[in-house]
């Protein structure tokens, strides 16, 4: 199997997950000159590639490369029983696996607090935007509904996993087909209503920058994710990773997120 890797993409070796003070100083000097660590513009996000239908065994899937970060989302859709308090709705679950192959300090085993946080932030964006019309996933009310499992494997880590996972999950869902035929029903596309886009920022000194790479994450003090939909509404937010933000900085993040969300939707979900 040939993976659609970008040729010659190398990330700095960083076994300890600690950034040197010299590198931190360099990142900050670059920012003061209006450039990012990797040379892009201050408010630019990295180039992304989205390849849907990567795993044909899954009813929906997407391989996403964001800069040098790479994640693969797979959607499985199975029949099951609804939750007792929502008998007339399908079920949605989101899980993120930080695979040990993706980074020297990632370990196998049950999800840790990072993977749980990432999964829950991605889940909130998809759930609260009502991207999937869960009411249309009912086969027999109270008894049989479609359960949508979103599982995301993190394969290669160079920062900003939340946005990469969101982009992969949304791409996979948009192409997913409910496998009804195998159950004597009909195969129908998963009912999708909108496109929630998460944009994550970190604060480095006084700079608020979107889509940080790993070194920028390590040099940063504070992270904020804003998920928006095309109707101009906020759907999920999460402040993470220590540090503190002023309300003005948060408003700046929100308005940038609306702009970048629009850009991403036009680019990848035309």
């Amino acid at each position: 199997m040939r993976l659609p890797w970008k040729e010659g993409s190398k990330v700095p070796r960083d076994e300890l997950g600690v950034l040197s003070e010299i590198k931190k100083g360099y990142i900050l000097r670059q920012l003061k000159e209006g450039k990012r660590n990797d040379g892009r513009e201050l408010n630019a996000i990295r180039e992304a590639t989205v390849q849907t239908g990567f795993v044909t065994r899954a009813p929906g899937s997407a391989m996403v490369q964001l800069g040098k970060t790479r994640v693969l989302a797979g959607v499985k859709i199975e029949l099951g029983t609804p939750f007792a308090d929502t008998p007339n709705q399908g079920v949605l679950t989101t899980n993120v696996e930080l695979l040990p192959m993706a980074f020297p300090t990632f370990e196998s085993g049950p999800p840790n607090e990072n993977s749980i946080e990432y999964a829950r932030v991605v889940d909130r964006g998809i759930r609260e935007s009502k991207m999937i019309d869960l009411k249309k996933l009912v086969v027999t009310p109270g008894e049989k509904v479609w359960i949508v499992f979103i599982d995301i494997d993190v394969l290669d880590y160079d920062g900003n996993l939340i946005d990469a996972c969101n982009l992969a999950a949304v791409s996979a869902l948009k192409t997913a087909v409910i496998p009804g035929a195998a159950q004597g029903l009909e195969d129908i596309p998963l009912p999708v209503t909108c496109t929630p886009i998460a944009v994550t920022f970190v604060k480095i000194d006084e700079f608020l920058v979107p889509d940080p790479d790993l070194e920028e994450e390590q040099a940063s003090d504070g992270r904020i994710t804003v998920t928006t939909t095309e109707d101009g509404n906020l759907r999920a937010m999460q402040k993470g990773a220590g540090g503190a933000f002023t309300f003005d900085e948060i408003r700046e993040a929100i308005s940038m997120s609306f702009n970048l969300g629009k850009e991403l939707r036009e680019k990848y979900f035309r």
Binding site: R127, G232, L234, A241
Partner: protein, 245 residues
């Protein structure tokens, strides 16, 4: 958020399901050093919430590989008692409480002078005895008092409040029904003096205007709640002075 229901959340006269106005807090009471063994503790009663926060440390970080040579680490464990909610909650951490523990730890890390205690850890235990919406913020607000009561140096108090959207209206400090059936939930915690945000989560649907309206309400409320924190802390010291300790 957004579970469908026929419950009317806003009354004809514009008041809320529990009779409050849009910008009215539920009653809040904080008591410090309610536990004997812990280095610092606080009990908060906020509406129907009853939440204990206890602090141990700073003490040597364990296991050793978690030690940070530059600063103390703050380890918060948020837990809901099995009997704290209507339907029994299976004991032990679930994904929700692991996420809350993480964001609360991060919020406290910003306020505690962690750089004074390299290789150490500060343990913060939040136990929700009775839940009534807004437990992460109430727990964090109590935890901040417990850390101060433990004598751990802090830059600032951490104080929080929730706002949300209910039937299209922005309201402060959601109650249980509003939390379950409302359209948006925005828990925020700030440092009391600097006003900087150390915890923020949001789910549901808000426009930018609604977000601004909600955060303005929250900022005003945190000033009131911070005074309750300060009073709780000084009341304990006043009592110990009188007792001749």
């Amino acid at each position: 958020m957004g579970t469908e229901s026929d419950i009317k959340l806003i009354n004809e006269d514009g008041t809320r399901i529990d009779g409050r106005t849009a910008e009215e807090l539920r009653p809040i009471k904080i008591e410090t050093n309610v536990l004997n063994r812990a280095d610092g503790s606080a009990l908060i009663e906020w509406g129907g919430n009853k939440i204990l926060a206890a602090v141990y440390g700073p003490r040597e970080a364990y296991p050793k590989h978690t030690q940070d040579i530059n600063r103390a680490i703050v380890k918060c464990k948020y837990n809901m008692a099995a009997f704290s909610v209507d339907e029994r909650k299976r004991p032990g951490p679930d994904r929700r409480s692991i996420e809350i523990s993480k964001v609360v730890s991060e919020a406290l890390t910003a306020a505690i002078m962690v750089e004074k205690f390299p290789r150490a850890q500060v343990d913060v235990f939040i136990e929700v005895l009775q839940a009534d919406a807004g437990t992460r913020i109430a727990g964090l607000t109590a935890a901040s008092v417990a850390v101060a009561a433990a004598g751990i140096p802090m830059r600032d108090f951490v104080v929080g409040c929730t706002a949300g959207k209910v039937e299209g209206k922005i309201v402060l400090d959601l109650c249980k029904e509003e939390d379950n059936f409302g359209e948006a939930d925005l828990p925020v915690a700030v440092m009391s003096n600097s006003g900087k945000v150390v915890l923020m989560q949001m789910d549901g649907s808000l426009s930018l205007d609604e977000f601004n309206q909600a955060t303005e309400m929250i900022v005003r409320a945190t000033k009131v709640i911070n005074q309750i924190q300060r009073d709780a802390l000084s009341a304990k010291y006043a009592a110990s002075m009188e007792g001749g300790e």
